[in-house]
């Protein structure tokens, strides 16, 4: 390569690297605004969290009954603890509907054995269905556990399982929960409190998801909150803190929350039915249902809100191997792209107000496309420096800017946690979190970007499988934490 051409290539690489850096800074500048919304909202959250008398509310006859839907596929290791956790909720009237989605393992058998269930006669099965879904093979019940039903159906995916649950449910509110999750005993009443304060406008409420790895768990309840010991779950703890406290509180304060985690969300059943229930075929059904609700409400010009309740906590098992984590993140990337494509007509469409003009464009420009700019910008600067090693400090600066931005936001989320929730009480926890927050930006973020990119490739390949998944018994997890 001649010197002039080499110079041009170097300029091009540097220019692109700079563009990527400013892009990343813009993303975070917007994120900073969102986090500011979170901080503005936190005083109101503190008032609701600390001063609402949940003990009184949890025994009130005026609290609306809820159907909890637990779609389950190959969950034999965790399902018993999860169901026990759900049966011990402090809530006046609710039912737990476990939908066995044609599991290939012993999920159904362990449930039948543990709770002494027997099949209900066909006459007690629902005659008509509000949503199109697979037929129910059998419903298992035991009068000793009057609020537990296990619905057995052929495998049809998570969305189909949720639709089957909705068809069978008896109550006007539905709560969706992952089968590998545990709820705090007061999680449901905390979430329904948000609904009850404004039932006319509230169509859905999202709960907070925290990482249970490392915690001591007894009888399906988290007894002692601790940070995970392993690297990957620890990194995810901080990541979840940032996403849920730094992001979702802010988005919900401007009614632009695009996702309610499938692990824990509350919905008004009739509104879900009105938008056709959950969509089949791809991952990302949790984001899809929220987008459908936003779209439907905005088209009807109804005054509505999709709220977030950070003090309603659901504990989940975080993947602790790169293989499982990568599979999860690729699935999330695929689901996100699919949803953005499906709702592309909302993009910068003023008819859809805060969703069309703000939330969706942010998601497309800064979430969906983020991995491309992050990876290619980094590679461009690596290329630039490799052509002139004396410019190593430019790569270092790029790297430090990335790290600093990530650190600021992780610390911001930790501050929100300290102000409003204080789940991690020890001073040592704060140090550990900062140390691992540094590690987030030393490769983990880039790995995430790569997995997301791979998820996009899977989408273009029309991949429809769920990907690898591994469950661990809660007892094993808790024993490790106590050891």
């Amino acid at each position: 390569m001649r010197e002039g051409e080499e110079h041009q290539v170097r300029d091009l690489l540097l220019g692109y690297g700079l563009f990527a850096m400013y892009y990343i800074m813009t993303v975070y500048a917007i994120y900073f605004v969102i986090m500011t919304f979170s901080f503005r909202k936190i005083a109101s959250i503190v008032k609701g969290t600390f001063y609402s008398r949940f003990r009184s509310l949890a025994v009130s006859d005026h609290v609306p009954p809820v159907s909890i839907l637990v779609p389950s596929y190959n969950e034999e290791l965790t399902i018993i603890e999860s169901v026990r956790s759900l049966l011990s909720l402090e809530y006046p009237e609710y039912e737990v509907l476990v939908v066995n989605d044609g599991s290939a393992d012993r999920t159904l058998d362990v449930l039948i054995g543990e709770f002494g269930l027997t099949a209900l006669p066909d006459s007690e099965l629902p005659k008509s269905c509000a949503l199109e879904a697979s037929p129910i093979r059998a419903v298992y019940h035991n009068p000793e556990y009057p609020n537990l039903y296990v619905l057995d159906k052929p495998n049809g995916g998570k969305a189909d399982a949720l639709n089957v649950g909705i068809n069978f449910s008896h109550y006007p509110l539905i709560c969706t929960i992952d089968a590998d999750s545990l709820l705090d005993r007061d999680a449901l009443i905390r979430m329904v409190r948000v609904y009850m304060e404004n039932p006319a406008e509230t169509v859905a409420v999202g709960g907070n998801v925290r990482i249970a790895n490392g915690c001591r768990i007894e009888n399906g309840t988290v007894k002692d909150v601790r940070l995970p010991r392993k690297l990957l779950p620890m990194l995810q703890s901080i990541e979840y803190l940032k996403a849920f406290l730094g992001g979702r509180i802010g988005w919900s304060s401007v009614n632009a929350l695009l996702i309610i985690s499938g692990a824990f969300g509350l919905f008004r059943k009739q509104d879900v039915i009105n938008v056709g229930g959950y969509r089949e075929g791809f991952p990302g059904e949790d984001m899809n249902i929220v987008l459908k609700l936003h779209k439907s409400m905005l088209e009807q010009k109804r005054k509505y809100r999709i709220a977030f309740c950070p003090d309603a906590v659901c504990w989940t098992q975080a993947p602790d191997t790169l293989r499982i984590l990568g599979s999860q993140r690729k699935r999330w990337g695929r689901g996100n792209l699919k949803n953005m494509w499906e709702f592309r007509h909302l993009f910068f469409n003023p008819k859809y107000r805060q969703i069309g003009l703000f939330a969706i464009p942010y998601n497309v420009l800064f979430e969906t496309l983020n991995p491309y700019f992050k990876i290619t910008g980094f590679l461009a600067l690596v290329g630039y420096v490799s052509m002139d090693m004396t410019k190593w400090y430019i790569l270092l600066t790029f790297f430090l800017v990335n790290m600093m931005i990530s650190l600021i936001f992780n610390c911001g989320a930790m501050l929100l946690e300290e102000i409003a929730f204080r789940r991690y009480s020890k001073a040592r926890d704060a140090w550990r979190m900062v140390a691992f927050a540094l590690l987030l930006s030393l490769g983990y973020d880039h790995l995430n970007a790569y997995w997301r990119f791979r998820g996009h490739i899977d989408f273009f390949r029309n991949k429809k499988t769920w990907g690898v998944m591994e469950r661990k018994s809660w007892k094993d997890e808790s024993a490790k934490a106590s050891a």
């Binding site: 600390f50 009130s60 609306p64 006319a200 600066t397 430090l400 610390c411 300290e418 900062v434």
Partner: protein, 269 residues
């Protein structure tokens, strides 16, 4: 990277580092303060164990509860107040009245009434919550004023619940309902659950709400009647309104229709 960009990036790194250090210091100081306070409270609880035992015994005996033998310092006041509030929340009848009287005698109610005038809304809500736990009727007027000041949000219901716990009578509860429904985002079930915390006989309140003609108030009254058979009996005992409630079933469809016309989403559930 050109000089200007590089300098900007370096400035950003420095400012970011300062910000991170400040946030971390804030978190660590907050944790340290909380841990120290928890230690002092534990220590104070141990030192005052004999006094708490005397109060416990006093709850089962005639006469007022004993006051501390020596004046309380700041931490002791806090610990004693917390303890009395927690007990008042768990017991009822005469025992609760005695605890409320002790809270008033020790100046806890007065102190919270002062905090209820604070510029800071979080402090006012905290004071309202504590006054509710102490169930002092002296606080009802100030709580009603605070309820009037509140904008729609979680704090509105916190203050309303405290007012229900401290209410002097049906007038206070009627005012409470009026203050909630004026926001035109009626939380009927939440309001009904709050009203049920009141120690007052709710029959008269239900009668007034039904007679008000206001669809939201009537809906709240109906919810209370639906879920509380004893209240239904109590209300039907009012001779002048008997007909209203016995013919309630026939009125419901028309009222439901009225409410639907006003706010269709209320019934979407």
């Amino acid at each position: 990277m050109t000089g200007g960009n590089l300098e900007l990036a370096q400035l950003f790194i420095v400012i970011g580092a300062v910000l991170v250090v400040l946030i971390l210091c804030g978190i660590l100081v907050s944790k340290a303060i909380r841990l120290r306070r928890a230690r002092l409270i534990r220590q104070c609880e141990l030192e005052n164990r004999a006094y708490f035992d005397r109060i416990r015994q006093g709850l089962d005996q005639d006469g007022a509860l004993p006051k501390p033998e020596s004046p309380l310092n700041r931490i002791e006041r806090k610990v004693v107040q917390e303890k009395l509030m927690a007990w008042a929340d768990r017991v009822d009848g005469v025992s609760r009245e005695k605890l409320t009287a002790l809270c008033e005698d020790l100046g806890f109610v007065e102190r919270e009434l002062g905090r209820l005038q604070s510029r800071w809304s979080v402090r006012r809500v905290d004071a309202a919550y504590r006054l509710g736990l102490m169930r002092s009727r002296r606080a009802a007027g100030a709580l009603l004023e605070e309820l009037r000041r509140q904008r729609f949000g979680p704090a509105l219901f916190v203050v309303a619940r405290s007012l229900a716990l401290c209410a002097r009578g049906t007038d206070d509860l009627e005012q409470l309902v009026a203050q909630i429904v004026k926001h035109r985002r009626p939380a009927h079930e939440m309001t009904a659950s709050i009203l049920e915390e009141a120690g007052e006989d709710l029959g008269e309140l239900v009668r007034r709400l039904m007679a008000s003609g206001h669809p939201d108030k009537r809906r709240i009254a109906r919810l209370m009647l639906d879920k509380n058979p004893a209240l239904r009996l109590s209300v039907s005992a009012y001779p002048d309104r008997k007909d209203d409630f016995s013919s309630q079933a026939s009125q419901q469809p028309q009222e439901a229709h009225e409410a639907q016309v006003e706010r269709p989403e209320t019934h979407a559930m």
